[in-house]
C-alpha cells in the first residue's frame, strides 16, 4: 500500500464513454491481487475534493524506454464517465500527474481448486474480473466469463478475455451483442451444466442480488465485488459500510467495503436489505 505521485502512460477511449487508463505504478505487479482497487486523485485543487475508487483491470511491466533505464511497472484501469470526477479523468493525457493510492482492499480468493470458475460481469463490473481471469487461466482450464450489459457498447474487453483463452458468453438487454436477455439467464444454464462451479461476480447491485439467489439455489460458492461510496479507501472514515450477514436495523452489523472488501464471500453479507 502506497500513495504514489505518478503519471499517465495513456488514456484511450475504448468504447463511447469508456476509457482505459495506464498509469506508472512501481511495485504493483508484485503487490496487487485480483479484485483490489486504487483511489485516484485527479487534480491538485480542492474541488473535487475526494479521490475516486477504481478496480484494478490489469498490472504489468513495460520494457525500459532505453537500455540502462529500469523497467516500468504499470497498472491499468478501465472506467466509465458518469460524473465530474470521471469527466475530468477523461481529459488526462500522457505525462499528466496523478496521485495513486493502492493497491487496496481484499481481492478474490482464488486459492481454491474446487470446481470450474465462472466469472459473471455486468457492465463496468467486468473490470476486476480481467486480472482474476489472468490468474485463473494459469491454474485451471477452461475459465468461463458470462458478460451482461445494456447494449453492445457496454460490453467491454471481451476480446482481451478471449485472447487469454477464456470462454466468453455475452448477453445484452437489447440483443445488440450476444444473446438477448440477462446474464443471469446464462448463469442458470451454466450452473445446470457445471453444478460444482465456483462463481465470481461483479456488477450492479440488482444483478449481484440475482446472482446470489441463483447461487444459493444451486448451492455453489460465490464471491462478489461491491461498490460503495468511499472517502478514504483505507478504513478510516467508515463511510463505505455495507450490511453484513447478521445485519438487522435494530442491531446493525456493518462491514467496511474498502478494508474488509471490496470482494466478499456472499455468505458474509446481508441480502435482505433493499439495495437500490
Amino acid at each position: 500500500m502506497n500513495d504514489l505521485q505518478t503519471s499517465v502512460l495513456y488514456n484511450r477511449e475504448i468504447a463511447p464513454g469508456y476509457y482505459r487508463l495506464g498509469l506508472l505504478a512501481p511495485g504493483y505487479p508484485e503487490q496487487a491481487v485480483p479484485g483490489q482497487f486504487v483511489m485516484v486523485q485527479i487534480q491538485s485543487q480542492n474541488d473535487p475534493l475526494l479521490r475516486r475508487p477504481f478496480g484494478i483491470f490489469n498490472v504489468g511491466t513495460l520494457p525500459p524506454l532505453c537500455s540502462g533505464l529500469p523497467e516500468r511497472d504499470y497498472v491499468e484501469l478501465v472506467y466509465k464517465v458518469v460524473g465530474r470526477g470521471t469527466r475530468l479523468m477523461s481529459a488526462l493525457q500522457e505525462g499528466d500527474a496523478v496521485r495513486l493510492l493502492g493497491p487496496l482492499g481484499q481481492g478474490f480468493d482464488c486459492n481454491t481448486t474446487a470446481g470450474p470458475p465462472l466469472l459473471v460481469g455486468g457492465g463496468i463490473g467486468v473490470v476486476p474480473l480481467f486480472m482474476l481471469a489472468c490468474n485463473l487461466v494459469k491454474q485451471t482450464q477452461p475459465v468461463r466469463l458470462l458478460m451482461g450489459g445494456r447494449r453492445c457498447d457496454d460490453v467491454l474487453a471481451v476480446t482481451e478475455f478471449e485472447r487469454l483463452g477464456v470462454e466468453t458468453y455475452v448477453a445484452t438487454d437489447d440483443g445488440s451483442l450476444g444473446e438477448q436477455g440477462l446474464v443471469t439467464q446464462v448463469l442458470e444454464r451454466k450452473l445446470k451444466k457445471y453444478p460444482t462451479a465456483r462463481v465470481y461476480a461483479c456488477g450492479p447491485m440488482p444483478m449481484l442480488k440475482a446472482v446470489h439467489d441463483i447461487c444459493v439455489r444451486h448451492e455453489v460458492a460465490l464471491q462478489v465485488s461491491l461498490e460503495a461510496l468511499m472517502a478514504c479507501g483505507i478504513g478510516a472514515c467508515l463511510g463505505c459500510v455495507v450490511p453484513g450477514r447478521r445485519h438487522r436495523s435494530d442491531q446493525p452489523d456493518y462491514r467496511c467495503t474498502c478494508k474488509q472488501g471490496p470482494v466478499f464471500d456472499a455468505r458474509d453479507l446481508s441480502w435482505e436489505v433493499d439495495h437500490d
Partner: protein, 310 residues
C-alpha cells in the same frame, strides 16, 4: 531577508502535555492510528487523537453516510465505534507501542454515559488526555444538543472533569450564534483545552431519487470549504478564554496550519485531509518546519498568536 534558522523548535505544550509539534489528527478521520502506518510515521506527529468512543458499541447510521460537496464533504457516520471496553481491549495495546501522546475522543447521550466513559478512560495509562465531543443530542433532555446550550455544556464538562486525573479537551461545535459564550462556559466548568471546530451541519440532495442524499438526512460538513468559518471561530475563542485552543477545520497544507497558529491556536487538528492524503500530516509538519526556517522563526511558540492587529 531574515536569517535562516537551522532547526526550529516546533514543540508546544498543551495542559502539561509536551508535544513534539502542534499537528495531530482530528477525531474520526484517523481511525485508531493503525490504518495509517503504511503512509505516516506515527511518531512524527504531535499527538494521536482517536475516533470517538462511547460507553456501548455504536453501529452508526445506515448508508449513504457520506457525500462530496464543493471543496468539502458531508458525513453522517453516526459515531460508529466499538465501545469503551473493546477499545481498551483491542485498540489500546497498539497505542501503547507508539511513543506519541494519545488523546481519546469520547461522547455520550446522557450525563451518566459521559461520566462513565471518562472515568474508565482516566484509568487507562496510555491515554494522556481526553477530548469531549459535546455535539451530541442529550437524549434525557429531549434531544437538545449539549454543545449548543451553555448550561448543558457546563454541566457535562463539570461532571466529566470530576472523573478525570488527566487533561480535558472540550471540542466545540460551530453551529451556535455566539461561540464565545460556549467557550467561556466550558472554561469556567473546568476544561483544560478547547478544540474547535467540529463540523457544520449541512445537507445534500439526491436529485435522481428526489431524496436527501444521506440516509440520516443531515450530516457534518468538513474540509477546505469550512476553513474561513473555522478560522473566524478559533480567532474568537482564543480571545475569549485563557486556556489553550486547538484549531480545526479544513486544514490541507502547512500554510493552512500556520494560519490557525497565527490567530492564536496552540495546536491544530487535521481531519478530512487525512482521508484524501493519508500521509498529509507528515507533509504539514515538514512544511511548517521549512516555513519557520525561511522566516527565521526559531520557536513555533513565537509564531503562535503573533498576528498583527491594529
Amino acid at each position: 531577508m531574515t536569517e535562516l534558522v537551522s532547526r526550529p523548535s516546533l514543540a508546544v505544550e498543551l495542559a502539561g502535555m509536551h508535544l513534539r509539534n502542534p499537528v495531530m489528527p482530528a477525531s474520526g478521520t484517523f481511525g485508531y492510528g493503525q490504518e495509517f502506518t503504511p503512509y505516516l510515521d506515527l511518531e512524527g506527529i504531535g499527538a494521536l487523537v482517536t475516533k470517538g468512543v462511547s460507553l456501548h458499541p455504536k453501529a452508526g447510521n445506515p448508508t449513504p453516510r457520506i457525500a462530496e460537496t464543493s471543496a468539502g464533504m458531508l458525513n453522517a457516520i453516526g459515531l460508529q465505534n466499538v465501545g469503551i471496553e473493546a477499545f481498551v481491549r483491542d485498540k489500546v495495546p497498539f497505542l501503547e507501542r507508539i511513543n506519541t501522546p494519545v488523546v481519546v475522543n469520547f461522547f455520550g447521550n446522557t450525563l451518566d454515559e459521559y461520566e462513565q466513559v471518562a472515568a474508565r478512560l482516566s484509568d487507562v495509562s496510555v491515554v494522556r488526555a481526553v477530548e469531549l465531543n459535546i455535539s451530541c443530542p442529550n437524549v434525557k433532555q429531549g434531544g437538545i444538543v449539549f454543545g449548543t446550550d451553555p448550561v448543558a455544556a457546563a454541566q457535562v464538562v463539570e461532571r466529566v472533569r470530576r472523573q478525570l486525573k488527566i487533561p480535558l479537551i472540550v471540542k466545540l461545535t460551530p453551529n451556535v450564534t455566539d461561540i464565545r459564550v460556549m467557550a467561556r462556559a466550558v472554561e469556567e466548568a473546568g476544561a483544560d483545552v478547547i478544540s474547535c471546530i467540529n463540523t457544520l451541519t449541512g445537507m445534500a440532495v439526491d436529485l435522481k431519487r428526489k431524496r436527501l442524499h444521506l440516509a440520516n438526512g443531515t450530516g457534518g460538513l468538513s474540509g477546505p470549504a469550512i476553513k474561513p468559518v473555522a478560522l473566524r471561530l478559533v480567532y474568537q475563542v482564543v480571545r475569549s478564554v485563557s486556556i489553550p485552543v486547538i484549531g480545526i477545520g479544513g486544514i490541507m497544507t502547512a500554510e493552512d496550519a500556520l494560519e490557525f497558529l497565527l490567530v492564536g491556536a496552540r495546536a491544530v487538528q487535521v481531519g478530512t485531509a487525512n482521508l484524501v492524503r493519508p500521509g498529509i500530516m507528515a507533509e504539514i509538519v515538514a512544511g511548517i518546519e521549512t516555513y519557520c526556517q525561511h522566516q527565521g522563526i526559531a520557536d513555533i511558540n513565537d509564531w503562535i498568536g503573533s498576528l498583527n492587529e491594529e
